[in-house]
Symmetry: C2
């Protein structure tokens, strides 16, 4: 990278952040409440992994999905489905299936058995019950393999998921973009998702127990001005 | 899909849209200006393909990238680079390279030659000059193949691009998520992008000539309530 270019732009970053109104607005905002300002929403969204049990009003879920489906999409194909799960029996079924995978791993790879195996499994169950699956609802973001331009779905999917997560934050809800913790095939089996859909992510959604803090790299590390 | 579930949720969509403040706020907003409201930004972002030549103040570009880098990211890896190109010579070089591809296609696949070839090429050049490349700046969104969890970059990349496009809209700028119109290899060659980066998309950015309208599917088509 051309260091002069990088430094020149870097120097104006601080100026830019001070000049532009709204960028530091989050400092004045109480966390965890609905917020109207675009910049507040962006600055205050976090990945949330523990939720209060309060149910989510249906109109809030609808408003969030209404935002998600306005994401950029290749050739306007809009290949998305948002599967909303609020049925506790289904959420428990997801936990049961996930724990079967955990048990196989503990037994076959970690060679645990008897009381040790039992103890580890109880720990995993509590971790799911108090973590991801403490949420009152789950949204599975899917793309349709039979969409008009399916080879573009791998972009369209995350774009809509990102919109969804921002909209949830605007309404005061936490989300998290989960992939491997609940493998795609497991999710599709438990929730009877037809083969024609590809899972983008699965996200619990609910009022966070807390909004976690996260260390981020410096802004200047992301910017390349004109040339590497 | 369970029709009763679908219809039940469908019926509450209208109620939800009417109840929740802000959802229809865009009707009151003049288009094309910066906007503070999260919902206005989401509702008014469009894919823009023709731009006014007005340059973009550096602090605006910085504010947009500052939003983009706050997107969800796997294990907090933040694998992104945002390459900003404002040098008109570089933007023209992209056009020249893209037209070489067009010429090869017209010559070899469409079997054009002589005046016919020349006419088609002039048309393509004008289309680029008045379209994508009328923008005063280009942002290339990249992910680093040497990031901590590179197999997750294909999610992280579009997530940040979506944030970037929303932030640009909040500032009054248009963008568009381009992939095939400027193939990755061509973009990397023209802008000397090191091999270690994967291109997510390339987006012109600038004040739109207009904010295009786009027909969207009905909201209810995207929602699956509990089961397919």
């Amino acid at each position: 990278m051309d260091r002069r270019n990088s430094l020149k732009l870097g120097a104006s970053i601080v100026a830019g952040m001070a000049i532009v109104p709204g960028l530091n607005a989050s400092e004045k905002m109480p966390e965890g409440q609905p917020m109207e300002s675009f910049w507040d929403v962006v600055l205050n969204r976090r990945s949330v992994r523990a939720f209060k049990p309060d149910p989510i009003p249906e109109e809030d879920l609808i408003k969030i999905i209404n935002a998600a489906r306005l994401a950029p999409t290749s050739g306007n194909q809009q290949p998305w489905k948002f599967l909303i799960i609020r049925d506790r029996k289904k959420i428990d079924a997801l936990k049961t299936e996930a724990l079967k995978g955990t048990e196989a791993y503990l037994r076959d790879t970690r060679n645990l058995s008897g009381d040790e195996l039992k103890k580890q499994l109880e720990k995993s169950e509590a971790s799911l019950a108090n973590g991801y699956l403490s949420a009152p609802a789950i949204i599975v973001v899917l793309t349709d393999n039979n969409s008009r331009y399916p080879t573009y779905n791998h972009w369209d999917g995350p774009l809509a998921a990102g919109y969804m997560m921002l909209a949830a934050r605007a309404m005061g809800y936490g989300t998290v973009f989960i992939t491997d913790s609940f493998p795609e095939e497991l999710t599709k089996k438990v929730f009877n998702i037809p083969d024609q859909y590809t899972r983008v992510c699965i996200s619990p959604i609910g009022i966070p127990v807390e909004w976690p803090k996260k260390e981020k790299k410096d802004l200047a590390e992301f910017i390349v001005n004109e040339s590497f």
